[in-house]
């Protein structure tokens, strides 16, 4: 396929993905807006003043970056896992398999769709947070880079989950039992400096901690970890998951017999 045709194929997949999550916005864009508003009201407004400051910032200001990142992570993951598994379930994945679209274009197209939803929800949650706090962004470029890379990484995670999934239960196990606990324990609501030394060390094994802290550094300028290490980790995981996703796609895991 020529470069122009490849671009058209990529564009087609991305537009189809965006159209899908926009069509069902009540299931994709509205729930995180409601959930995050509740977090802002309950944790930020009601409980926050009793907690006081964290890392030198109001509790509300401290949790906003973590909650934005949590939305980006869960939505980029959910978009790809549900869309790609849905295609497998309805067998409409065969439309792509019989077409000449190279596998790397299929993968990047779906990841771009996941990134689009992750960032769209991130923007919605950020806009909502302005009703509760003034966002004085410390380093906008770094903040955007972390959000983008994290969305790419979790879109890839969703893709791998969808490749292995054979039933609907399989696409909810990882978000429920792995992603959500890791996100809650990834420093969204607290600084790991509050933890005993042993649990601080354990927390460092949680990759989401690095993403939340790097994003918080972009907004507030404070972090529990080295931002350089965070970037290296995100990029490393992204490259590894991209290669593994492509390997599964080339093998036709779950889509070719």
């Amino acid at each position: 396929m020529s470069a122009a045709r490849i671009y058209i194929a990529f564009h087609t997949i991305v537009v189809k993905e965006i159209r899908r999550f926009m069509r069902i916005w009540v299931q994709t864009l509205l729930p995180p807006a409601i959930t995050m508003t509740l977090y802002f009201v309950i944790f930020g407004n009601l409980i926050g003043p009793r907690i006081g400051e964290m890392d030198g910032h109001r509790y509300m200001d401290f949790i906003v970056p973590g909650l934005i990142m949590m939305s980006v992570i869960t939505n980029s993951y959910a978009n790809v896992v549900s869309s790609f598994f849905g295609m497998k379930f309805q067998r409409s994945i065969e439309e792509l398999v019989v077409s000449p679209v190279p596998n790397w274009v299929i993968l990047t197209g779906y990841v771009a769709g996941g990134v689009a939803r992750g960032l769209a929800v991130g923007v919605i949650v950020t806009a909502l947070s302005l009703g509760f706090t003034d966002l004085n962004i410390y380093n906008p470029l770094l903040m955007l880079a972390v959000a983008l890379l994290t969305a790419v990484l979790f879109s890839l995670g969703g893709f791998i989950n969808a490749m292995y999934a054979t039933k609907f239960d399989d696409i909810s196990i990882v978000p429920t039992f792995i992603l959500t606990p890791l996100t809650y324990l990834g420093g969204v609501f607290y600084s790991i400096s509050m933890l005993p030394e042993f649990w601080q060390t354990v927390s460092l094994a949680n990759p989401i901690l690095y993403m939340v802290n790097a994003f918080r550094y972009g907004i507030l300028g404070v972090t529990d970890i080295d931002v350089g290490v965070a970037f290296a980790m995100i990029i490393g995981f992204t490259v590894a998951l991209f290669c593994y996703s492509l390997y599964l796609l080339n093998r036709g895991k779950g889509i070719r017999s």
Binding site: A9, H11, E94, V98, R256, S257
Partner: protein, 306 residues
Amino acid sequence: MNNALSIRNLRKVYSNGHEALKGISLDVTKGDFFALLGPNGAGKSTTLGIVSSLVNKTSGQVKVFDFDIDVDLVGAKTQLGVVPQEFNFNQFEKVFDIVVTQAGYYGIPTKKAQRSAEKYLRKLGLWDKKDVPARLLSGGMKRRLMIARALVHEPKILILDEPTAGVDIELRRSMWEFMRELNEQQGTTIILTTHYLEEAEALCRNIAIIDQGQILAHSSMKSLLQKLHTETFVLDLTEPLECAPQLDKFKCRINRDGSLEVEVSKEQSINELFARLSERSIEVTSMRTRSNRLEELFIRMVERES
């Protein structure tokens, strides 16, 4: 480059150990209307699945217009349009979007894709349903939608796996007309699998019969049908008979409805049969073949094999 499709020693062993294809070889010439027939589980869909990349082959070679799928899969895929047996589109998407999206996968620019989608949706009588979500279409409409989707990039080969399954007679006939036109006017090579042998006999010029992963016959429809030595005719009689008459050289039996079934071999003439019946004052009101010729032949070949 006379062959649109060339298959050599194709084998497929599934992960459960089942050998679906036992080294088949097959050629489909350019511009042909070709039937691949066989009973359920014979290996038809596996063969077409391998050609269209939905199934991984175990060994062998597949060439689509000289594009070896192991060497230039993209080149091979570009030549193909595939209509599978099962509905395989997103049921929640609109008809027009499904067809235009498929064109996009082949790198066709949006405007051109929209024109092509309109052309085939109109030809297949679906244009007034273009904004309807696919799940709301009837079974026949869904089949036609899959055909429009497979044609939107103007493929040189169209693979149709049971395209008229579950479609009423009137619609089936109109789909036959459409396929004939596509083959004769646009020169599209058509490869068809069907359980309606009448359909294969009416449409296809060449044929292969596959059973238990092996090709039993591969020739022109005409020469295959010539292999049929006997045909069975059903005769409706003015006066029902109690027992089958003894007709010289003709095998007869009485059906439950009182009609007479007679086997006529290639060497015998129908006139001779009627002469024998007249001798016995048996009056015939109507006559038909018990099944179509291809069906007769197909059943005999498959039964002999098993």
